[in-house]
C-alpha cells in the first residue's frame, strides 16, 4: 500500500514540475504581487496612525506574516481545484475504483505532493526574509515553533481537504460545483486570516471564528511559525483541527457512499 502511495506521490511531483517556468513565475509573481499590496496597504495605515506597532505586529512583523500567507495557503489548499468533480462529470472516476488503493488515499497522496512543494517554498521564503530583513520585533523563531507550524499546516491541509471534498462530492447530484469551491476559498481567506490577521478582527467575531475550522487554517500556523502563539494555543489549535477532521470525515464518507450508488460510470 505504501509503495503505491509513494509512487502516486512521486508521479504527482513530476507532473507539477512539468511546466517549471510557469510554476516559478506564478510562485514569485504571486508572492511579489501579494507582498507589494500588503506593503503599501500597511505602510499607509502605520503612517497615518503614526505608530510603530499595532496589536502585537510591527510593520516588519506584519510583512513577514503576509509573506507566509500565500505559501501556507499553498500548503493547505494546493493548486488544483475541482479534480474530483471533473472526474465525476466526465466519468474518469472509474479508474480510481479499479486501483488497489482507496480513492481518498490516492487523492491525499497526490495533494501532499503539492503541499510538499509549497512547504519547500515556505521554507525558502521564510529563510530569505530572515536573511535579507532580519528577525522583526515580536517574532521569535525556534525549532519547536517551526516543527509545530509544519504539524499544524499538515492538519490544516487534511481539514481543508475534507471541506473541499464535501463540496466536490456534491457533483454526484449538482451540475457544477466549482463556484462552491471558490466560495470556500473566499471564506477561508477572510476567516482564516489570509486577507488580514485575525487579531485585527472585532472581538465578537474572533469568538465565533474560534469555534469554526477557518481560524486554524492560515492564521494559527503562521503565528506559530513566527513564535507568536503560546504552547497552549498550539495544542488547543491542534485539538480543534483534529476534532474538525473527525466531524468533516462523516459528510465525506456519507456523500461518497451515497454518490457512488448514483454514479453510472459514464459521466453525468
Amino acid at each position: 500500500m505504501f509503495a503505491y502511495l509513494s509512487q502516486i506521490y512521486s508521479l504527482e511531483l513530476r507532473r507539477l514540475l512539468t511546466y517549471r517556468a510557469e510554476f516559478w513565475i506564478y510562485f514569485f509573481g504571486n508572492l511579489a504581487g501579494h507582498m507589494l499590496v500588503a506593503y503599501f496597504l500597511w505602510d499607509a495605515i502605520f503612517k497615518f496612525n503614526g505608530v510603530s506597532e499595532m496589536r502585537g505586529f510591527t510593520f516588519r512583523g506584519i510583512m513577514l506574516y503576509y509573506l507566509l500567507v500565500p505559501v501556507v495557503d499553498g500548503v493547505i489548499r494546493g493548486m488544483e481545484m475541482t479534480s474530483f468533480s471533473r472526474e465525476i462529470y466526465d466519468g474518469t472516476l472509474n479508474r480510481y475504483l479499479l486501483y488497489p488503493v482507496s480513492f481518498f488515499a490516492y487523492k491525499i497522496a497526490s495533494r501532499l505532493a503539492e503541499s510538499t512543494l509549497a512547504l519547500l517554498q515556505l521554507g525558502l521564503a521564510f529563510v530569505l526574509y530572515l536573511i535579507l530583513v532580519g528577525v522583526p520585533d515580536g517574532v521569535s523563531v525556534s525549532l519547536f515553533h517551526v516543527l509545530s507550524g509544519v504539524g499544524l499546516c499538515l492538519l490544516a491541509f487534511l481539514v481543508y481537504f475534507c471541506m473541499a471534498s464535501t463540496l466536490e462530492l456534491l457533483a454526484f447530484w449538482a451540475d457544477n460545483v466549482w463556484s462552491l469551491l471558490v466560495l470556500l476559498r473566499f471564506l477561508a481567506q477572510l476567516l482564516g486570516g489570509g486577507l488580514i490577521p485575525l487579531v485585527y478582527f472585532p472581538d465578537w467575531s474572533i469568538q465565533i471564528i474560534q469555534v469554526l475550522p477557518f481560524g486554524y487554517l492560515i492564521s494559527l500556523p503562521i503565528r506559530t511559525f513566527l513564535g507568536m502563539s503560546t504552547t497552549a494555543e498550539i495544542f488547543q489549535g491542534a485539538i480543534m483541527l483534529v476534532a474538525w477532521l473527525m466531524v468533516l470525515s462523516f459528510p465525506v464518507a456519507y456523500l461518497w457512499n451515497r454518490g457512488l450508488r448514483r454514479y453510472s460510470g459514464i459521466g453525468i
Binding site: 504581487g33 499607509a44 457544477n176 463556484s179 466560495l183 473566499f186 485585527y200
Partner: protein, 268 residues
C-alpha cells in the same frame, strides 16, 4: 454605410450570443444558484475587509470609510461586468489554442477576436451584476458629501471601461500560450495581481504607482475613476484613462495578431 451595416451585423450576432447563453444557463439551475452564493460571499468578504481595516484607521489612501465604500462598490461592479461578459471566454481560450480548436473560429466570417472574446456570455452571472448594482446604489445613497449627477454618470462609464481594461490585461496574459504551447500562460499571475485593483491607488507611490496607471493599469479600473466622483472633477483623468485604454487595446490587438501568426493549428 457599409460600416453601419457591419456594426449592425455584429450587434445582431452579440444578441444571438446572449440569447443562446441564457437558454443554456436555464438548463443548469443549480449552478445558477451556486454562482449567486459565490458572488454574494465575494462581495461580503470585500466589504468586510474594508470594514475591519477602518476599525484601525480613519483614512486609507486619502479616503474615509464612506468614500472607500464608493470605491469598493465600483470595483465590485467592474468585476461583475468582467465576469459576466468576458471571463468565460478567456477561460476557454488556452484550451482552444493548445488543442487546435481555434481553427473553427478562425474560418468564420467575423473578427476572431470579437467571436472568441464575447461568444460566451455568462448569463448565470447577470444576477450578480444586479447585486453589484445594489451595493453601488447603497454606497452612493449613503455617501454624505455633495456630488453632481454627471460625476456619477462619468464614474459609471469609467467602471465599464475598467471592466474592459481588466479584460485587455487578462487577454494579454493568455496570448503567450500561442508560443509556450501549454498551461494557461500568465493568467494565474494576473489573478494574483488583481489585488492592485482592489486597493485605493493613492496608497501606492513611486514606480509601482507609475506602472499601475500606465503599463498594468489596475489603478484605472476603479480607483482612479472613483476620484472623478469623490474629488473635484478632473477632466485630465478622463483624457489619461482614454489614452491608456486606447493604447492598451491597440497593443493587445497587435499582440493577438502576432499570436495568430504563430498558431499552427492542432499541432500547437
Amino acid at each position: 454605410m457599409r460600416a453601419i451595416k457591419n456594426t449592425l451585423r455584429y450587434i445582431r450576432l452579440y444578441y444571438y450570443f446572449v440569447r443562446f447563453s441564457f437558454m443554456r444557463a436555464m438548463e443548469f439551475r443549480v449552478d445558477f444558484t451556486f454562482r449567486i452564493f459565490m458572488d454574494v460571499i465575494y462581495y461580503a468578504v470585500n466589504i468586510a475587509l474594508y470594514k475591519i481595516i477602518f476599525l484601525h484607521t480613519d483614512q486609507l489612501g486619502g479616503w474615509n470609510e464612506n468614500e472607500a465604500l464608493i470605491f469598493v462598490a465600483g470595483y465590485l461592479l467592474a468585476d461583475s461586468i468582467y465576469m459576466t461578459v468576458f471571463a468565460n471566454n478567456l477561460w476557454w481560450l488556452p484550451y482552444f489554442i493548445n488543442r487546435g480548436d481555434l481553427d473553427y473560429y478562425l474560418v468564420r466570417p467575423v473578427s476572431s477576436l470579437f467571436f472568441l472574446s464575447l461568444r460566451d456570455f455568462a448569463a448565470n452571472s447577470t444576477i450578480n451584476i444586479l447585486a453589484a448594482v445594489g451595493i453601488f446604489a447603497w454606497a452612493t445613497l449613503t455617501y454624505q458629501n455633495h456630488f453632481y449627477w454627471y460625476q456619477l454618470i462619468v464614474y459609471i462609464v469609467l467602471i465599464f471601461n475598467g471592466a474592459f481594461l481588466f479584460f485587455l490585461i487578462s487577454l494579454a496574459s493568455l496570448i503567450p500560450v500561442f508560443w509556450i504551447h501549454g498551461g494557461r500562460g500568465l493568467q494565474s499571475l494576473v489573478w494574483s495581481l488583481q489585488r492592485f485593483m482592489e486597493r485605493p491607488d493613492r496608497i501606492f507611490y513611486g514606480w509601482v504607482r507609475r506602472i499601475l496607471v500606465s503599463v498594468l493599469p489596475f489603478a484605472l479600473i476603479a480607483s482612479v475613476p472613483a476620484h472623478f466622483f469623490l474629488d473635484q472633477p478632473d477632466w485630465t483623468l478622463i483624457v489619461h484613462i482614454s489614452a491608456v485604454s486606447t493604447g492598451l487595446f491597440l497593443l493587445v490587438y497587435w499582440f493577438w495578431r502576432r499570436g495568430l501568426r504563430a498558431y499552427s493549428s492542432a499541432s500547437s
